[in-house]
């Protein structure tokens, strides 16, 4: 199992790369890579994504193509015209606009797929650890929100079925009431139950101390310095240098204060994870992909406007993208864990 920070780097690299191109060839390669990595993690027993990337694509691609096709009236291949009196929609509907919309939908699918894999592969506990110590409680809230999503999806399904067995059909907005009300009430009940359970297990008992006045004062001072510097930078060209100094000072005050606050948070970590060769390999793969993406921006460029053409494909870029495939090439975590355990037993 990889470190949560490594997974985060992998997801961000995929996001940056996918955002850097509209070439359907590169986007499809990225989609294949995230699908393979996701399948490999699922085979290891990671939790399933609530919505598969394929299902996401069936919604995102047509919607995006339709929206772009109807609102962007640019491109040489005109399919048909909508009446000009229609606000926003009136004008030529072109093949290029539809294609660009579809490519945007595919890009969104790649990003969704990458973050689905990140969510699948990272245990909730590790997500809490990703947050800075000063924001530990925020991290816990985020992790609870993540575990709430699948629970709420299951609840929604159950309630829809329960309402269907009393003859309920959705014909208008009002018909959602029998589903929304129990969903909200059960969600609130679950939230209250969880809060009770956490308090009963001592949550907040050691971190419930109030922030000292000095910390609050420093945070306010840092924020004011930063905002003042930013305003000065915007409105007075002559003050740019001292303004940048003020921004840096404000940011430093906030950073140091947060670091000190984080140190004061009393929290320990059960079984800290050790860095592995796998982590290093995945980081290297991401670095290669990221470096090529940032240094070869022109090679990534493709636009279907003004006339749809075949997209280019550079073998070097294709090879660089394969760096993101590294998580799927590592040995499965279970085997790794078994090996680790037998090593522990031998020693």
């Amino acid at each position: 199992m990889l470190d949560a920070r490594v997974w985060f780097l992998w997801a961000v690299t995929t996001l940056v790369t996918a955002s850097s191109t509209r070439s359907p060839l590169y986007i499809v390669v990225l989609l294949l890579i995230t699908t393979v990595v996701g399948a490999a993690r699922e085979a290891e027993g990671s939790r399933r994504a609530p919505l598969s990337p394929l299902r996401f694509a069936t919604i995102a691609v047509p919607l995006s193509a339709l929206f772009n096709g109807l609102t962007v009236h640019f491109g040489d291949t005109v399919l048909f015209h909508l009446p000009d009196w229609l606000p926003l929609l009136g004008g030529a509907v072109t093949l290029e606009a539809l294609a660009f919309g579809a490519l945007n939908g595919l890009t969104l699918t790649v990003i969704f797929s990458a973050f689905s894999v990140f969510n699948q592969a990272t245990p909730v506990r590790d997500l809490i650890k990703l947050t800075p110590r000063a924001f530990h409680e925020g991290g816990v809230v985020l992790s609870i929100a993540l575990t709430f999503i699948p629970q709420t999806t299951r609840s929604l399904q159950r309630i829809r079925e329960a309402q269907a067995v009393r003859g309920h059909r959705i014909r208008g907005i009002r018909d959602w009431l029998p589903i929304v009300v129990p969903l909200l009430v059960s969600g609130l009940e679950r939230a209250m139950g969880l809060a009770e359970a956490m308090v009963a297990r001592g949550y907040g008992a050691v971190s419930g101390e109030e922030q000292p006045l000095r910390t609050q004062g420093l945070l306010v001072a840092g924020l004011l310095t930063l905002v003042a510097g930013w305003l000065a930078y915007l409105f007075r060209a002559a003050w740019r240098v001292p303004a940048m100094g003020a921004i840096a000072l404000g940011a430093a005050i906030i950073g140091v204060t947060m670091w000190q606050t984080g140190r004061a948070v009393r929290h320990t970590v059960y079984r800290a994870r050790e860095w592995t060769v796998g982590d290093t390999l995945v980081v290297l793969g991401c670095v290669v992909t990221l470096a090529v993406t940032l240094t070869h921006r022109d090679a990534f460029y493709y636009s279907p406007y003004p006339r749809l053409t075949l997209p280019p494909f550079h073998p070097l870029i294709g090879l660089a993208l394969l760096g993101l495939l590294m998580p799927a090439m590592l040995p499965p975590a279970k085997k790794e864990a078994k090996r680790e355990r037998s090593r522990e037993e031998n020693t």
Binding site: T147, A164, G193, V199, A205
Partner: protein
């Protein structure tokens, strides 16, 4: 014992550990906005190391009493409180749950609602991480509770892949991680099948007997817990009395008894038996005076059709079934769930469908109402196929009550819930049964303006029943209808089912509750791995080690399943002799 030595090695206040007895003095608590107190002048003591069962009907204040122990009441709920409560040297009412968490562990009814993270080991460590316990100490404690609760093999598992019983054991393990000396559990087995419930109870017995943990447990199904407890506390909602004492002392003074105790009281057995093993000694003496050639009570039921309150049991009329399932197959993600199920129900017949969790019982019901599409097979109601029809259409003829009645309820009043169903089916102008009549039958006429979600578990379930039966369906499907219900509510449910049967409705009841099946079912079908492996009269239960009710275990071979049948059978035998 690792657990004990580890406690002393961490330098805990040994004085506090030794003296964590519980003492309530004139405790009165009222929830915000409620006119009546939930607890009135409660005075009682619980000694260190006792296994205590808190019993009483729904709404009697069992959960409130438990929540007082760690200060969730009043710190989490608000409300007014008077009197005193001490746990050792601690004062929960003043200090609150966070201060009490190292001393009082708390386990809730639904294990899923208390999980914060997604893996077994992480969930157990969560409280320790937040208590800033050093990592080496933390590993020791996690190992301890994993082994104590027999969860070591599941340490890496995702929580949502565990069975109900395993989840509840993880919840208990998570509560034990802080090494409390008292464990309070609010109906921890109410959501579990009998085998899983037994596993959880055995784990609690081990904690109590081996480690000396004080266990305070609220539970409706007394028969499950009575064999293990030292003390029974009975809360009554009607008067302000709290009965506390040995189980036998308290059971003599209350009416809601499990079958074994009810029989023992009726026959004047002394000492009152709490376990089937104890009961067998008395039963053997009674049986010594019986004539084995006499007909069994069940046989006489068939010929005379009499019973004290469970009503006449019917023989299935298989020639003309009202409801028929034939060779039904269903698969999910390539895995066969139902593999050729055959079942039929005659008009007015109540069939109980039993089987372990995951055997396919709920899947069968969902196929019948069209929520799932079977791969193969027939489902017919009064000769017409239900396969391929829409759920909304089927539900006019087939009433389906899912496991959680809360999923059905959303309207502002009890009456409105019934109106909504009629409106859904376009039956508002000519309802098959008027909401007023149905509410009277359900015993809800005085609550027709109440907000459904504010009602007790039993009342809520009756509202949900009303919402699915206001179309007067010919077939009623009930999925685990007695979960969380007390004996009174269960008795009320059986009465209602009998009335529907008399009106000609067929009923398919999915349940783990063997005592309910013994009282209400005309026939029992056992489902295992997607196949009906037995389909026979309820006597079938008496020979099953897993499903036999208490009376059948007491008098094996007689075919008696309920207290009334046993009393009647014994009366007859006595008369003959």
């Amino acid at each position: 014992m690792v657990y004990q030595t580890a406690i002393s090695s961490t330098g805990c206040d040994s004085d506090m550990l030794d003296n964590s007895s519980i003492s309530f003095r004139d405790l009165t608590y009222t929830y915000p906005g409620s006119p009546d107190p939930a607890l009135s002048n409660v005075t009682l003591d619980i000694a260190v190391g006792e296994f205590v069962l808190v019993a009483g009907p729904s709404g009697a204040g069992k959960s409130t009493l438990l929540r007082c122990l760690n200060g969730l009441v009043p710190h989490f709920t608000g409300g007014t409180v008077s009197g005193n409560l001490s746990v050792g040297k601690l004062k929960p009412l003043e200090q609150g749950p966070q201060m009490l968490s190292p001393t009082v562990g708390f386990v809730f009814q639904d294990p899923e609602s208390q999980f914060v993270v997604d893996r077994v080991e992480d969930e157990i460590a969560f409280a320790l991480e937040n208590a800033a316990v050093p990592p080496t100490e933390m590993r020791l404690r996690v190992e301890e509770v994993l082994h104590l609760m027999d969860l070591a093999a599941l340490r890496d598992r995702q929580l949502d892949t565990l069975s109900g019983g395993e989840k509840q054991k993880v919840a208990i393990a998570a509560a034990l991680a802080l090494r409390p000396r008292i464990l309070a559990l609010d109906e921890p087995t109410s959501q579990l099948d009998p085998q899983s419930a037994e596993d959880v109870l055995q784990a609690l017995v081990r904690l109590n007997q081996d480690l000396g943990l004080t266990i305070v447990l609220a539970e409706h199904r007394l028969e499950r817990v009575l064999p293990y407890v030292d003390r029974l506390i009975y809360l009554s909602p009607d008067d302000e009395s709290v009965l506390s004492g040995s189980p036998r002392q308290v059971l003599r003074q209350i009416e809601l008894n499990p079958p074994l105790v009810a029989l023992g009281k009726a026959l004047g057995w002394e000492p009152l038996p709490l376990t089937v093993k104890e009961g067998r000694r008395h039963a053997a003496q009674v049986q010594a005076a019986t004539d084995p050639s006499l007909p069994s009570s069940r046989e006489r039921h068939r010929t005379r059709g009499s019973s004290r309150w469970s009503g006449e049991r019917r023989r299935p009329d298989t020639r003309d079934p009202q409801f028929l399932v034939q060779d039904l197959h269903f698969a999910y993600n390539g895995k066969s769930i139902l593999r050729g199920v055959d079942l039929q129900i005659a008009p007015g017949e109540l069939v109980a469908l039993m089987g372990r969790n995951g055997s396919g019982k709920t899947t069968l019901l969902r196929c019948v109402v069209g929520l799932l599409e079977p791969r193969k097979g027939k489902i017919k109601m009064e000769g017409k196929s239900l396969v391929g029809r829409r759920t909304a259409e089927i539900s006019q003829d087939v009433g389906y009550l899912p496991q959680d009645p809360g999923d059905l309820l959303f309207a502002d009043s009890v009456r409105e819930e019934l109106i909504v169903t009629l409106r859904n089916h376009d039956l508002l102008d000519h309802p098959p049964v008027t909401p007023e009549d149905l509410l009277t039958r359900l015993g809800l006429e005085t609550l027709e303006r109440s907000y459904p979600r504010d009602l007790s578990a039993g009342q809520r379930q009756r509202v949900a029943l009303g919402a699915v039966t206001v179309t007067k369906p010919g077939l009623l499907l009930l999925d685990e209808p007695t979960r969380g219900l007390d004996y009174q509510a269960k008795r009320e449910l059986v009465r209602l089912l009998r009335e529907w049967q008399t009106d000609g409705a067929s009923i398919l009841l999915v349940t783990h509750d063997v005592e309910l099946v013994a009282q209400a079912a005309d026939r029992v079908a056992l489902l295992s791995q997607g196949q009906i492996i037995a389909d026979a009269a309820p006597e079938l239960l008496s020979t099953s080690p897993l499903f036999a009710p208490q009376v059948a275990r007491l008098f094996p071979g007689t075919g008696w399943l309920t207290v009334d049948e046993a009393l009647e059978g014994l009366d007859t035998q006595r008369d003959r002799n």
